[in-house]
Subunit: 481 residues, 2 copies
């Protein structure tokens, strides 16, 4: 592919340098390709400064203290509440005080050129970067342009929304003040995690779960159990409830939400966690025949389907496979190998689970919510599996009742696990768990599902006694009848 | 197999009813066989009353409090020490106050006959039970006798040992007093776990690691890192040190240990954790041509090799495959299926990883130490793999440095992981981890090793960000170079 005249030509141009952009830059640099990395905000992206990293930094002390309180002998040692200033100091440390020097150094260390500015496609294989000083640099890509611009909050069109100055994940993960009363609109991952965090930090949290309940993409028991646990923790969970308008005169002071049933809710801040939309509205998609603001549909090599010659890749949130940092990084590892292979004229092998296909995106996407209780899953839910035409058997285990290791982990343990077995394939296609301490246990399920380990072989996979992992034995016993 | 005249005939006789005996009783009962379960102490065994269960019940509060102290924001909430009375209450609860009613009910619920007394083999397929009232009941087995008697502490032959009235795992997991000074002889699993527990409960602990260091069967870095962590926690770890004699006049007051170098160590109690020997010295092995006190070598169906006709099975510690409750339960599940198949005249399939072979005993034994830090492993160490003639590649990852999820779990995280890849098979044959929070992460390694998931497929097994599980990504990146 010959590069048209431009200020500078690179093998690969990456637009948007969060963890996904960094990963594809690193992979293609490792293959000897030259890389330009274009970023208009902080290098490191939303994940590093306003999502995964600061939220986990805030949630971990909350969960650690809660875990200690749940155990006789440790409970007596925990006399005070979580300390917000300590939590914020930790969070600020992990967010690098919202400075990206470390990430810039990383890009330098791998030999990628950082170009600060707003990158837009300018026709095939070309990217125009509007720099902070108002200049435009035009770049051309010999082999690939990777769009890794991610997503942003998607607000419902409510009267008074702008005036209400709502929090998004950004404010919820960077605020240095604890609102007295925090209303959270939306029961998905952000809403649920931030409810745990701010409740423990001292806010009176009202969680408006809307019509779909909590974590509606997971097995139904997850949202139900989480709602019960949240209520016990003092969070006001309102199932079915959502706001229809907001009022905050002058954008200061308390915000008043008018609810569907006509009632009002007053809060000191309101967090909208009502979904995401792709950051593709201003990246020049129209110059290559694509719709600005659209999700970018990709093939299994992560090349954008609608664009010929496979020079445009879309990685991470923008391709809508799974709006998860780890899944985007996986795509970036695979796509990095694809770009390197195509650049070298080597064959690309997109057979399932091969080196150049993001097969796990379809069958083995894991997710953990670092809330209290924690919840995690990989693969398909029972309903998704049935909709996909699979002949499945579903087995559930009450972890508090059946797993000694769970009860030993936390007094009065409450948790549940589900395993969805593909009866034709003889392998697991989905696992879900909710309960304290399941955070690192999900990966065992991911190995089983993505590894397609036959259920007969899992009978030989011995869990340590007495750990929570023994839930696996109970699941398999239930399956074998 | 015809039963000779006896008081009563059963399909299966189980001698020793800990978790392993219970499991083989349950499995064979589920297959419709009649079962006599013979136990001379508490039904539930050492694991339930003087090992796994009470030790984990004691360790969990210790680790939960330590984990909270390691995190800014939670640290401020933990103002006091672990509360020994709370810990003991929890431990007593989990040990059912050393009463076995619950376990007796369990046996009843599965329809097994409990026979209280000391069981001894009395020739092939016969067991004589000496009951508490001095009677002898003779039982005959139509299909199988399963020896599940476990093991007991193995003491070195030291002068003054009896007079010193040393603690074993029994006293260490059931004491209601916290010794001011506790000397622990032995750096294996019991010594290491009890050092964590009693140090946190307030004892001044001296851990005499002997010539092999801490946890000598694991990768060498585990013992080294644990020794450093223990020293920081205030445990006096003495590498190479061991006692040559003991003095405790009258068996009361302080105990004085004379060390190899001539120095003396005074303590209020001394725990000997110097290995185990099989509880086979008084079970009538001589009546079937076996050596009393010996380990019982078994084939892959867990039948004792030296005995013909496959009626005698040895499960758990006595067969010396792995002195771990979970591995013994695995053997009991497999042997239960074997006994049921043989009783029904069905074929027995002992091909590796088949339904009737304890293949995991050879290749995928997992183990977790619930100490602080935790350590766990599955499969072979690098050295074991090389000795077994495997062509391996070994990769290590510094978890504190390379895994964000680890640092987010604990401030200043210190931990390490190692993966041993069989370069000919393309699969993992060993994984080892040490660090806070690895307890439930080991199972992901067990799935990978026992599941023989190819290393190329593991590249598609995506760990959640930012969890400790991402150590897997770092290991695989290091492996792929």
């Amino acid at each position: 592919m010959s590069a048209p005249a431009a200020d500078k030509a690179y093998d690969v141009i990456v637009i948007g340098v969060g963890p996904i952009g960094e990963t594809v830059a690193e992979r293609t640099r490792a293959a000897g390709l030259s890389v330009a990395a274009v970023e208009h905000e902080l290098v490191g992206g939303v994940c590093s400064y306003w999502a995964c990293i600061p939220s986990k930094a805030m949630l971990r002390p909350v969960v650690a203290a809660a875990d200690a309180r749940r155990v006789n002998g440790a409970r007596q040692a925990v006399t005070g509440p979580v300390d917000p200033q300590g939590v914020f100091a930790r969070r600020d440390y992990w967010a690098d005080d919202w400075k990206d020097d470390g990430q810039v150094d990383y890009l330098k260390s791998i030999g990628a050129d950082l170009i600060r500015g707003h990158g837009r496609l300018a026709g095939p294989c070309r990217v125009a970067v509007e720099t902070p000083d108002g200049q435009t640099i035009t770049l051309s890509a010999r082999h690939a342009v990777a769009v890794c611009t991610g997503s942003r909050s998607n607000f419902p069109p409510l009267p008074g929304l702008d005036e209400a100055r709502p929090w998004t994940n950004r404010e919820a993960t960077s605020s240095r003040d604890v609102p007295g009363r925090l209303a959270i609109v939306g029961g998905g991952g952000v809403g649920v995690e931030m409810a745990t965090a701010w409740n423990a930090l001292g806010s009176k949290v009202t969680l408006l779960a809307g019509g779909h309940g909590l974590l509606p993409r997971m097995e139904p028991f997850v949202g139900e159990m989480m709602a019960r646990a949240y209520a016990e923790a003092g969070i006001d969970v309102r199932m079915g409830a959502t706001a229809t308008s907001l009022r905050r005169p002058g954008g200061t002071g308390p915000v008043t939400l008018t609810m569907k049933d006509g009632s009002e809710l007053e809060a000191d801040e309101v967090l909208f966690a009502t979904g995401r939309k792709p950051l593709t509205d201003d990246i020049g998609l129209e110059t290559v025949g694509l719709e600005p603001g659209s999700w970018l549909e990709v093939d299994d090599s992560c090349a954008v389907k609608a664009v010929g010659e496979r020079w445009l890749y879309a990685l991470g949130d923008v391709n809508r496979h799974a709006l998860l940092t780890h899944q985007g990084k996986y795509q970036a590892r695979i796509a990095g190998a694809v770009i390197a292979a195509r650049a070298a004229g080597q064959p690309v092998d997109t057979t399932p689970w091969g080196p150049h296909a993001v097969t796990a995106d379809h069958w083995a996407v894991p997710q953990v919510f670092f809330s209290d209780p924690q919840a995690g899953a990989v693969g398909l839910t029972a309903e998704q599996a049935k909709k996909a035409g699979r002949r499945v058997r579903v087995v559930d285990v009450d972890m508090g009742e059946k797993v000694s290791g769970a009860g030993l982990y936390a007094d009065g343990y409450t948790g549940r696990a589900r395993m969805v077995v593909d009866e034709d394939g003889g392998c697991l296609i989905g696992v879900t768990m909710i309960g304290p301490g399941v955070e690192e246990l999900i990966h065992s399920a991911t190995v089983a599902v993505a590894g397609q380990v036959p259920v007969d072989r899992l009978w030989h996979v011995v869990p340590c006694f007495p750990s929570i992992s023994e839930v696996w034995l109970r699941l398999l016993e239930a399956y074998r009848g």
